[in-house]
Symmetry: C2
Subunit: 210 residues, 2 copies
């Protein structure tokens, strides 16, 4: 029965086409302003066809969400591997997280800012699993730092939330254009400096406790 195999392949290919078109449109003009008809036009099918492959618009967002988390996890893993010292690993983790956010603004948005998929798919456990796995990675690296004598006396989870909040704050302030209040040429520098400053502060904390 090679036919049903091929049918399966074709279904997957079609989903791919839809997702690719949707991602590029979302990146270009955002989720709300992209219509199903827009996506259908790109892949040269009628709007109704899309509903044969995805339940609704949110399901498309959800599929992209899963893929985006996969990519982020990969980027973060790469960051971890490139360093040996636990603290430098944490620093690299944050850097790669920020890099990913700046290079994939709409996807980052979808993963950590958008509420649309969260509200409609609140029951969906999988959505949180992705986020949790990423956070577990952070906690793991923070744990390694602690074993190496850093951040003494702090709770791992709490400390990880603090680190996450800081990088997430830097990312969203910029992605949502709130750094507009600064001169254009120094925006990125300011964010990088702020991150470097944070790193310096938490690093020093160890020296004191030690």
């Amino acid at each position: 029965m090679g036919v049903i195999d091929r049918k399966e392949r074709e279904k997957v290919e079609m989903k791919r086409q839809i997702l690719d078109a949707a991602r590029s449109l979302f990146l270009e003009q955002g989720f709300e302003k992209t219509s199903i008809r827009n996506i259908a036009e790109v892949i040269e099918y009628s709007a109704g066809t899309i509903y044969l492959y995805f339940k609704d618009k949110n399901e498309i967002l959800f599929a992209l969400h899963v893929e985006a988390f996969g990519a982020l996890m990969q980027a973060m893993q790469a960051g971890i591997m490139s360093e040996n010292d636990p603290f430098e690993r944490l620093v690299a983790l944050g850097k790669h997280y920020l890099k990913y956010a700046f290079e994939n603004p709409e996807l980052y948005d979808l993963m950590f800012v958008m509420t649309a998929p969260m509200e409609t798919l609140e029951c969906r456990e999988e959505i949180w699993c992705d986020g949790e796995r990423a956070f577990e990675t952070l906690k793991f690296v923070v744990g390694e730092c602690m074993q190496a004598g850093y951040f003494e006396g702090f709770d791992n989870e709490t400390f990880s939330v603090m680190v996450w909040s800081l990088v997430h704050g830097l990312a969203t302030l910029h992605l949502r254009r709130r750094t507009m209040i600064f001169a254009e040429e120094k925006r990125i520098q300011l964010l990088e400096d702020a991150y470097a400053q944070f790193v310096q502060i938490i690093k020093q904390y160890k020296s004191l406790a030690a």
Copy 2:
């Protein structure tokens, strides 16, 4: 000419009615899901009437934006006044910022997360002025801390960006439901602890430099 005075008053009152209805609907069900017809229904006028008072839906958002910043500034000023020590002032500033964010989620969203008004009204200088004034307040307090010997060797603006990013990160992670990965009963505690931890770390930094 008491007539045109009254007309003026009536115009202002009508704008108030529209803004109040809009704010409550936005808070309830969000910006996107609130339609002009919804707002019109609440104030018992036809949809077309609203366009006699506001250019479009974004203009309503913008007006609420201005008011919301006024309220935040007031909340922050109150926070500053209640403390004498510069560092405690900074701590209180952050606390009140977070308090405002958690108590006015949709307004905070509109001020620091939404891109809708930013894109459409990109040319509008006033929008940035509000944000800038709030940031200047933070910088001022950080400056006072520095004069008192805290955060030695750091750049005021960079340091302020770091502080802002942290509290903004805490706020948005929670408002956008990303703290769902934690047990419900400890979510708020975790955020408060993370903030307290951050405060402890930046406070300690001074002791070392001194």
